[in-house]
């Protein structure tokens, strides 16, 4: 793999910037049937919760224009089974693994971070703050700066010192920058932007909401412009905070868009349902896109869209595209 695409997310160094998005890559075993997971920058697990959860009844998904609307109810095996069955497999395969955690109370988040404390091989923790807070009438943690900060603080306090912690934010808030600042103040090393957006579809045949859960999370290309806006705004306010860009990425050019907005890595979610091999494909297309623009290193492209018009990034000569070792 070329050095062109190595990336750093604060304390975390990755050979390339393409990850899977939480909840979209299964346990890893399913995708491993289609490509070698070590080719990913990292695999992000489905959000782990304390208890096994069956999630919501079907139908849990409906296809929307350029998107997907899902109300899954965070199904999962619970942290015990995850630690016994799923995580060891990923670590054995030497897949760089970012564990996503979710809880319905601040205590549950802290508890999960503690359970992961002595597990070797975990590359980072991603805190899914788009979870309903049962202590606050089911309002999402991610909707309030103080609530989002409290779960990040709990994870930081219990996680192994030095283990990178990322906060994953929801986009449908009044001001995402305030929430990003609160999370970074609470100890987040970086941010993942964005989670799904609350949305709804009504079935014209049944005349009822299409999903059992009434409203659900919108993902896919339909949310990409929202996600790019979030990354751009947060990078402008916090230029040194590493960002993982997520939301409707299905090609290398989509990934480049997030990088230009300020992301140092990108995660592919819904596209995996359409193309199980989307991860390595997006990476290949991104490498080609950088080469075509004569950008020698990925880092030179991060946040480039914020530069004044006319600014030219460091260029490599076309004859020696790979020879950029400063």
């Amino acid at each position: 793999m070329s050095e062109r695409v190595t990336t750093t997310l604060g304390p975390l160094e990755l050979p390339n910037p393409v990850l899977t998005a939480s909840g979209c890559g299964g346990t890893g075993r399913e995708l491993a049937q289609f490509f070698d997971l070590t080719r990913l920058g990292a695999f992000v697990t489905t959000s782990v919760m304390a208890q096994a959860r069956a999630g919501r009844p079907t139908p849990r998904v409906t296809e929307t224009p350029s998107g997907l609307l899902t109300a899954m109810g965070l199904p999962g095996p619970g942290v015990e089974t995850f630690l016994e069955r799923d995580l060891p497999w990923l670590i054995e395969q030497e897949v760089r693994t970012i564990v996503s955690v979710a809880g319905s109370s601040v205590e549950e988040y802290g508890d999960l971070a503690r359970r992961l404390r002595n597990v070797p091989g975990v590359a980072a923790i991603e805190v899914n703050v788009a979870c309903p807070n049962v202590e606050d009438r089911g309002r999402m943690f991610g909707w309030h700066p103080a609530a989002a900060a409290s779960v990040v603080r709990a994870v930081r306090a219990h996680a192994r010192p030095g283990l990178p912690v990322f906060a994953k934010l929801a986009p449908d808030v009044t001001d995402i920058v305030t929430i990003a600042l609160a999370c970074v103040d609470a100890g987040a090393d970086g941010l993942t932007l964005i989670n799904t957006m609350d949305a709804m579809a009504i079935d014209p045949q049944t005349l009822r909401p299409a999903l059992t859960g009434v409203s659900g999370g919108l993902s896919g290309p339909a949310v990409r412009p929202v996600a790019v806006r979030c990354v751009y705004q947060v990078h402008a306010a916090l230029p040194t905070t590493p960002i993982i860009g997520v939301g409707g990425i299905s090609t290398g050019l989509d990934a480049l868009e997030f990088i230009l907005a300020g992301a140092s890595a990108v995660a592919v979610g819904t596209a995996l349902f359409h193309d199980p091999a989307a991860g390595p494909r997006v990476l290949r297309e991104l490498e080609e896109a950088l080469a075509a623009r004569r950008i020698g290193r990925l880092a030179d492209a991060v946040g480039l869209a914020h530069k004044p018009a006319g600014y030219v990034p460091p260029q490599v000569r076309p004859q020696e595209p790979e020879k950029e070792k400063l």
């Binding site: 909840g23 979209c24 890559g25 299964g26 399913e30 995708l31 049937q33 289609f34 959000s47 208890q51 096994a52 959860r53 069956a54 999630g55 919501r56 009844p57 079907t58 139908p59 849990r60 998904v61 296809e63 224009p65 350029s66 998107g67 997907l68 899902t70 109300a71 899954m72 109810g73 965070l74 199904p75 999962g76 095996p77 619970g78 788009a130 979870c131 309903p132 049962v134 009438r137 089911g138 309002r139 999402m140 929801a170 989670n195 799904t196 609350d198 059992t212 859960g213 009434v214 409203s215 659900g216 999370g217 290309p221 819904t270 995996l272 349902f273 359409h274 193309d275 199980p276 091999a277």
Partner: protein, 295 residues
């Protein structure tokens, strides 16, 4: 030969109208070579830059060795994705993932098998019939549909089966009624040792119950449920869950695509499809609208 599925760009050979359905033949050697009866494929619809993100999961009717290996699918073209498929012409390319899911379990001995197919799901039992016949099994068919145009494969069943019965709701072909009305008699007449099925969920439910009444094992493909709920077909999206109780009596939500589509009929909680039974592993203990709103 390998057990892992592949993703391939398959070439359309033909698309034909068969009664109320479309039959599509695709050249996909790698899938044909791995296929076992009961498995399905997941197709990307709408072309490369489509806004339709969900894969369509369709059972395989049969595979042939022509052109290096072909895969034949039968489907109803009633929604936009399958209507797009129906509009393909020969030499078009379609992105195909397969073969997926668990196949029908096969009896080791040459026993008597009853194969029940309903609607386009009836197509999936023919590949199974081939394999069973090659293993020396006796194969009897029951094919069902709302009307004659929705009964798939009646002539083929007559040709290759030891017997075949047709039942339609409007009586336009065979007997008038549903599978429920004819199955007990056919089981008695054929002396079946095992009942296999693929078709609408209601059909599978009565099939399982009747087989159970006769003390027979049933193996059913929940292909219709998968078509209605699945998004990826490969086991990563978790949208196709249905409740199944295990040997230990515990009900678990399993994936129709990766843990099925073929399941033991008596393990499926038919009455609870589309719900999370309160006693399922991980079922919510308190019902609350706000719980797990997203994802």
């Amino acid at each position: 030969m390998s057990d892992t599925p592949v993703q391939t760009s398959a070439t359309v050979l033909t698309v034909r109208q068969v009664q109320d359905y479309r039959a599509m033949t695709l050249v996909a050697p790698a899938i044909a070579e791995r296929f076992r009866p009961g498995q399905f494929v997941a197709l990307a619809v709408g072309g490369e830059h489509t806004s339709r993100l969900v894969r369509r999961c369709i059972g395989v009717h049969e595979v042939k060795s022509d052109y290096g290996g072909t895969v034949e699918l039968v489907f109803a073209d009633t929604e936009p994705g399958t209507a797009w498929l129906a509009g393909r012409r020969s030499r078009d390319q379609i992105d195909l993932v397969g073969p997926l899911g668990r196949p029908f379990r096969l009896p080791r001995d040459p026993v008597t098998c009853l194969l029940v197919g309903g609607g386009p799901g009836g197509a999936a039992v023919f590949a199974l019939a081939d394999t069973l016949l090659r293993r020396g099994c006796r194969v009897h068919f029951v094919l069902a549909g709302a009307s004659a145009r929705q009964v798939f494969g009646s002539r083929m069943a007559q040709r290759i089966g030891d017997s075949s019965a047709v039942v339609t709701e409007d009586g336009s072909m065979g007997e008038k009624g549903t599978v429920r009305d004819v199955l007990p008699r056919v089981i008695e007449e054929t002396g079946a040792d095992v009942v296999y099925g693929c078709g609408p969920t209601a059909l599978l439910r009565s099939l399982t119950q009747i087989a159970g009444d006769f003390g027979l094992p049933s193996q059913v493909s929940v292909e219709e449920f998968l078509q209605q709920t699945g998004a990826c077909g490969i086991g990563v999206c978790m949208t196709c869950m249905l409740p199944v109780h295990g040997e230990d009596g515990v009900t678990r939500m399993v994936r129709a695509c990766a843990d099925g589509p073929v399941l033991r009929g008596d393990r499926v909680r038919w009455g609870d499809l589309g719900t999370i039974p309160f006693d399922a592993l991980g079922a919510p203990r308190v019902l609350s609208v706000s719980e797990g709103g997203l994802q």
